[in-house]
């Protein structure tokens, strides 16, 4: 069955519309995977010797053991948001004469062959080899690797069980926060206790039974869960939510554009994928904590300000017309001009930038200069960043399924090289707008920050002044592309 499944997925790929585009995406994604993979591999190779050299008084492996829990927590978060489990593809096999047990076994085993399970080989294996080279007996090195791998694979099944369940995520976050506060303020050492467990595995190899039996247990739980739920109402069906009647009347202050803002708000709140992406865009608000706490060159601060106010543009904004792809032909027939449509999208993004800017007020703590830079960056994002984003979004000719989780490495919908190139001006232009006036008006030793701020903010204000001209230009491009976009969006 595995081979026929493989054949099917190969056909699905080869016969897909826009094969060239997809091929290009696959190649780019392969490079991305290669990059992360080799980064993790190198990390795995060097971490052990590096710790041995720096922490002479401690055993390197026990230092690693003490942070393993953190790695697991990080792993499960990544899995929750990105790992797509091969459950739904099974739907068509349910009616064939294949025993259900075999189907489930296949699903579960196939879920192990995933890029997310490469960590044990790429990261833990080199560590274990290093241990062996560092005079640990072979048996201990193997036992250590087996226990860590077993836990890592448990996470694979846990993410199966928690799939799409927000309550599970919330519970998980609460537990982690509780553990952290216990650790931090009450010195309970619960997290460190986990590290000690792996230390214990080294001294008493029989402890390996614990991770192995946990793995078997989770396999069985997942197996039972799927067996009971492998029907159209359970794991395979889309969950029917109770509709929340959000009226969002407070948005009426935006006048005739409120209609679209409300709709976009509903789109974000009621669909898995945009919801996750917008949650991600909130993380951009915290970029400043990295940038402002370490010494940075001036242009680094410009980056930070663009990131902080423009998180929404960089994540959600990139797919802007594509979010509407499911009902695009409907929109194109409704009594709404292209101009009004694009304008509403502009306003949505401007609204998000303003919200982020207000939310970033706490950065005043780092000084007025820092916040002024954020403000200047916000002006750029509203005046020009929005349009660059929208243009990039229009180049994207891949439909988006709203209520489906994003598949990070296995299948990136809606991502093209051109679009990737358009992220560059969003990063480079603001730096230029800042650096050029700051250098011209500054002395040889010091940049003139005020001139830079005026340059950066001014570019955005210019964008706002010429908004109508830019909008008209966008409308022309949009109308020219309309049919091509419709064609692409109706192909699934």
């Amino acid at each position: 069955m595995s081979t026929s499944l493989f054949k099917l997925s190969r056909k699905k790929f080869m016969r897909a519309p826009q094969l060239e585009a997809k091929l290009a995406i696959k190649i780019i994604m392969a490079l991305v995977v290669l990059y992360f993979g080799s980064a993790i591999l190198i990390g795995g190779i060097v971490i052990y010797p590096a710790i041995s050299e720096t922490a002479l008084d401690k055993d390197a492996i026990s230092v690693i053991n003490s942070v393993l829990v953190l790695i697991f927590i990080f792993e499960i978060i990544i899995r929750y948001f990105l790992q797509q489990l091969p459950v739904t593809e099974i739907k068509s096999f349910l009616l064939l004469s294949i025993p259900k047990k075999r189907i489930i076994k296949n699903v579960l085993l196939r879920s192990l062959v995933s890029i997310y399970n490469a960590l044990p080989i790429l990261f833990y294996l080199p560590i274990s080899i290093n241990m062996y080279l560092d005079d640990y007996p072979l048996k201990q090195a193997i036992v250590w690797w087996v226990s860590v791998t077993a836990f890592s694979l448990c996470l694979n099944f846990i993410s199966f069980l928690a799939n799409k369940n927000n309550k599970a995520l919330a519970g998980f976050v609460v537990i982690v926060v509780l553990l952290y506060t216990c650790e931090r303020y009450f010195e309970t050492e619960l997290l460190r206790a986990a590290g000690r467990f792996f230390d214990a595995v080294l001294t008493q190899p029989l402890w390996v039974a614990v991770p192995l039996s946990t793995l078997v247990l989770f396999y069985l739980i997942t197996f039972r869960f799927l067996k009971n739920n492998l029907n159209l109402e359970g794991a395979l069906g889309s969950k029917k939510e109770i509709a929340r009647a959000g009226r969002y009347d407070f948005l009426d202050v935006f006048g005739s554009n409120a209609l679209f803002l409300k709709n976009d708000l509903r789109l974000i709140l009621r669909n898995v994928r945009p919801r996750n992406i917008v949650l991600m865009s909130f993380l951009f608000l915290f970029y400043g904590l990295i940038f402002y706490t370490t010494p940075q060159p001036q242009f680094g601060l410009v980056f930070a300000s663009i990131f902080i106010s423009g998180g929404f543009l960089l994540t959600y904004g990139n797919y802007v017309p594509a979010w509407d792809s499911e009902y695009y032909s409907f929109l194109m027939c409704q009594n709404i001009s292209y101009k009004k449509y694009l304008d509403s999208k502009f306003r949505l993004m401007a609204f998000a930038v303003i919200t982020s800017t207000v939310l970033s007020l706490p950065y005043l703590y780092f000084g007025l200069d820092v916040y002024l830079m954020i403000l200047a960056g916000a002006f750029f994002n509203i005046g020009l960043g929005t349009w660059i984003t929208l243009y990039g979004g229009m180049l994207n000719k891949q439909p988006l399924q709203l209520n489906v989780k994003a598949k990070a490495f296995e299948n990136t919908q809606a991502f093209s090289g051109k679009q990737f190139l358009l992220i560059l001006p969003k990063m480079v232009l603001p730096v230029l707008f800042f650096i050029i006036p700051a250098t011209l008006l500054g002395s040889e030793e010091e940049l003139n920050a005020t001139a830079g701020l005026i340059g950066l903010g001014g570019s955005g204000i210019l964008g706002l002044i010429f908004k109508n001209q830019i909008l008209n230009l966008m409308v022309k491009l949009f109308a020219k592309d309309k049919h091509e976009m419709l064609k692409a969006f109706t192909q699934k």
Binding site: N263, E326, Y327, S329, C333, S337, Y338
Partner: protein, 231 residues
């Protein structure tokens, strides 16, 4: 109301639609029939400028649809379920469409009151998003939404398909009532010869992209169509 001139649509070397001349006068209920691949949906998509014409032009109420977007203000359509917004409740969808056509909430509410029977208590106040409704119920929402704001041109692709028998009959009554009460140019395609001859006063039969029959509906039309399709 709508004029087609030298209209063709081809993909590479296959021509899927070719109509020299076709005029649909104001207030006509126009029925389009034909087997799969005859070009019905293609024709409707062209009328809505969802696909580009290869040659020729379509003029609706004096506006060339490929050149200007002003036809949108007096045209509404329901082609398939991509005309619904899955994450809205039916009410929200009606309000959205209503607001686009300049009708406020209260007016939409009283509009929906008229169609209460048609919905059969399965649509409104269900606390469900459209994506969670059955195909038939989704279709009810999409069909009724096309009548919002009294558009002059309404285009419905296969309106009877997927509907339960009761609703099919109610839809026929509804269409008759609407076309009698005001001047609507209504374009319907259907595989159901009974229904389409019942409601439409003109039937056009397409075969491989060409018009092979174009007649006012009489009592004999149904028989003629049945004869054609059983041949």
């Amino acid at each position: 109301m709508i004029t087609l001139q030298n209209l063709t649509k081809s993909y590479e070397d296959t021509t899927v639609l070719s109509i020299d001349q076709l005029e649909i006068p104001k207030g006509q209920c126009f029925g389009l029939v034909g087997n799969n691949g005859a070009g019905k949906t293609t024709l409707f998509s062209l009328l809505l400028d969802l696909i580009k014409t290869s040659t020729g032009e379509i003029v609706s109420n004096g506006i060339e649809v490929a050149k200007s977007e002003d036809w949108k203000s007096f045209t509404s359509a329901f082609i398939d379920d991509s005309f619904l917004i899955g994450y809205l409740t039916p009410e929200e969808y009606f309000y959205f469409v209503g607001e686009l056509r300049g009708i406020n909430k209260e007016a939409v509410d009283s509009f929906l009151e008229i169609y209460k029977d048609f919905f059969n208590d399965e649509i409104l106040d269900q606390k469900k998003y459209l994506r969670d409704f059955s195909k038939g119920n989704q279709k009810k929402v999409g069909l009724i939404a096309t009548f919002l704001g009294s558009p002059n041109v309404i285009i419905l692709d296969e309106p009877f398909a997927n509907l339960d028998p009761t609703t099919q009959i109610r839809l026929k009554q509804l269409i008759k009532k609407e076309t009698e009460s005001r001047e609507i140019t209504l374009l319907i395609s259907s595989h159901d010869l009974n229904h389409v001859t019942d409601v439409c006063n003109r039937i056009v039969l397409l075969e491989r992209g060409s018009v092979i029959m174009d007649k006012e509906t009489t009592s004999k039309t149904l028989q003629e169509l049945e004869a054609y399709f059983s041949a």
